[in-house]
């Protein structure tokens, strides 16, 4: 029995060692001329912001290979829960910090700095098979999405549209995307009860794409990747594109994405300061690469001043 124990233990250990060895080729290129930093930068929060921060960490590892900068993805709310207790250095958020979260941060003695990273255009989309809807106004969206006890038909919005029941798709209530839609469209009223909610935006995409009479909303990146299956609706006459989102014409459904930085970390941990600086310097380009829209350049420069 002892032998077997030792054997199985050895097996596990060797398999681990083989892997670590096999993966041992470290990036040696050290581009940065600055001092070598080490330590950890911990960020957690919004799954919408996650792809940007993942890209930032990926690139940062090439400049400062000894700094460990893992990124969590537990949702904007989940991220703040840890941030206000001082457990993370950076909290990624797809909405502004809520009042009760700010209060908790104060109680926890956490002072923070809010930085904008990029824009996300919340896109309202219908299936490609839908050949009537091309644009919609915010008021019409309100009429459609707010629960009032009636069965919603497309013809309720505009008489010339078909007399068919509308199928609704929305991100889950934990997501910042839902919060933002709630703020702008629902204004804290009950969302249509028949709405299909999902935390996975790809589920929404295939739901909307597969149903002629459906409507849904999600981040612009999901629309951009599925343009062959989806039609985006113009909001108050403006189509969501990189240009209209960056210039601020696509209102009110374009929203900024944030990181919140713990001021104490910024002051005491040189690697956090450097990482945040690196983030602001590269966020625009990296955000575009993963499907978001960059801020106007001067916004990044302004914010760089804040962390000096």
């Amino acid at each position: 029995m002892k032998k077997i124990k030792v054997l199985s233990f050895l097996l596990i250990i060797t398999s681990l060692l083989v892997f670590t060895a096999a993966c041992g080729d470290k990036k040696e290129e050290n581009k940065g001329s600055e001092e070598k930093l080490s330590g950890e930068v911990i960020s957690d929060g919004s799954s919408t912001v996650f792809p940007i921060m993942e890209a930032v960490s990926e690139e940062y590892a090439l400049v400062q290979p000894d700094v460990q900068a893992p990124v969590g993805s537990s949702g904007t709310g989940g991220g703040f829960k840890k941030f206000v207790k001082g457990e993370t250095d950076i909290s990624n958020a797809s909405r502004e910090i809520k009042e009760e979260e700010a209060t908790l941060a104060k109680e926890g003695g956490v002072e923070y700095l809010e930085l904008e990273l990029a824009y996300d255009g919340l896109t309202v989309a219908v299936s490609k098979e839908n050949d009537w809807a091309k644009d919609i106004t915010i008021d019409e969206l309100k009429k459609l999405w707010i629960e009032d006890g009636t069965v919603k038909k497309w013809s309720d919005i505009r008489p010339e549209w078909p007399k068919e029941e509308v199928k609704f798709y929305s991100p889950g209530t934990d997501s910042g995307t839902y919060d933002y839609f709630n703020e702008i469209v629902l204004e804290d009223q009950q969302m249509n009860k028949k709405t299909t909610l999902s935390e996975d935006d790809n589920v929404l995409v295939s739901g909307v794409a597969g149903d002629k009479y459906s409507i849904g909303f999600f981040g612009y990146a999901y629309y951009a990747e599925n343009k062959d299956k989806l039609t985006s609706l113009k909001i108050n006459g403006v189509e969501p594109t990189n240009e209209t989102i960056e210039s601020g014409k696509y209102t009110p459904l374009s929203r900024p994405l944030f990181i919140y930085v713990n001021k104490a970390s910024l002051k005491d941990k040189p690697q956090v300061r450097d990482y945040v600086k690196f983030t602001l310097e590269n966020a625009g380009e990296l955000a575009e690469e993963v499907g978001y829209v960059k801020l106007p350049d001067e916004k990044y420069t302004e914010q760089l001043e804040l962390i000096k």
Partner: protein, 292 residues
């Protein structure tokens, strides 16, 4: 006197034979149903994932570019997690089972504990996550480490291990133990030399199932603070980490279609990981099976 009554035997034989056939078909369809679902799933995963699966995928870290994305960080994280979960959950779980089965007096208190352990096996995993966050991450100040997550996962799988180990211990023929006592062995000697070796195949079967669950879990790990992007290997059980299922989930939620292929390749790695773990356990089990 005839024992068999021909009339009784032939009575309604046609109907009974039909029922027999019918049941067989129903049961066959039931089996087929799950097999077909499994086959479709496997086909889809293999179809999407196999082209992505190569050494690069196994040795690279996650990346924003689907073409560069690899699973190594998560794979090593999962291995580290198992290094904590397997010994903790097995030692404590089997220990509890031995105590409850062999030493504890059979009174209301023992059965109360018994019922509670069985109930624990049905508690949603996220609840264990919250428990882990409160006790290990915050109260014990283990932070978002492999150790904290491993202990949480051990708690999650332990009830199943306890219950199945108890069943295995119960199934050992009484005579074996009695014979040992008859030769003057103490309780512990009997357990160590006779009962435990005989029960090992059963204990391992239950533990394999339980630990397999731990490999595929995401919810409690996210609560205790496992991360989604980790581009370094943990160097101790106090490091932060990610695991394969979190990495897969993260990829499936990405807008870019290419990430779906990467996710499928990740699923194949997870399956192989499970198969390797299970095979090791089955080999050990078969070795002990020849005992009596």
């Amino acid at each position: 006197m005839r024992i068999l009554n021909n009339e009784q035997i032939t009575n309604g034989i046609g109907r009974r034979l039909l029922t027999n056939k019918f049941t067989k078909v129903i049961l066959f369809i039931a089996t087929l149903f799950s097999l077909v679902v499994l086959a479709v799933l496997m086909y889809r995963i293999m179809n999407q994932g196999l082209p992505k699966l190569n050494l690069d995928f196994l040795t690279k870290f996650a990346s924003r570019r689907p073409a560069n994305a690899g699973i190594s960080g998560a794979l090593v994280g999962s291995i580290w997690l198992m290094i904590v979960v397997v010994p903790f959950s097995m030692v404590i779980g089997v220990g509890t089972a031995i105590y409850l089965e062999e030493y504890a007096k059979k009174n209301w208190f023992t059965s109360f504990i018994q019922v509670n352990i069985q109930n624990l096996a049905g508690v949603p995993s996220i609840v264990f996550g919250l428990l882990g966050l409160t006790i290990f991450v915050r109260a014990m100040d283990l932070d978002r480490s492999i150790l904290a997550a491993g202990l949480t996962m051990s708690l999650l799988v332990m009830p199943v291990i306890v219950v199945s180990a108890q069943e295995a211990l119960k199934a050992v023929p009484r005579q074996l133990g009695e014979a040992s006592y008859g030769l003057g062995a103490t309780k512990w000697q009997t357990i160590k030399n006779i009962i435990l070796p005989a029960a090992i195949p059963g204990i391992l079967t239950g533990s394999i199932l339980a630990i397999s669950r731990a490999i595929g879990e995401t919810a409690p790990l996210i609560v205790v603070g496992a991360l989604a992007f980790v581009n370094f290997y943990p160097s101790s059980i106090m490091d932060s980490f990610t695991v394969i299922p979190i990495q897969i989930y993260n990829w499936t939620t990405r807008p870019q279609i290419e990430f779906q292929e990467v996710a499928a390749a990740g699923i194949i790695v997870l399956l192989v990981f499970l198969i390797i773990m299970n095979s090791i356990a089955i080999i050990i089990r078969n070795k002990f099976n020849k005992r009596y």
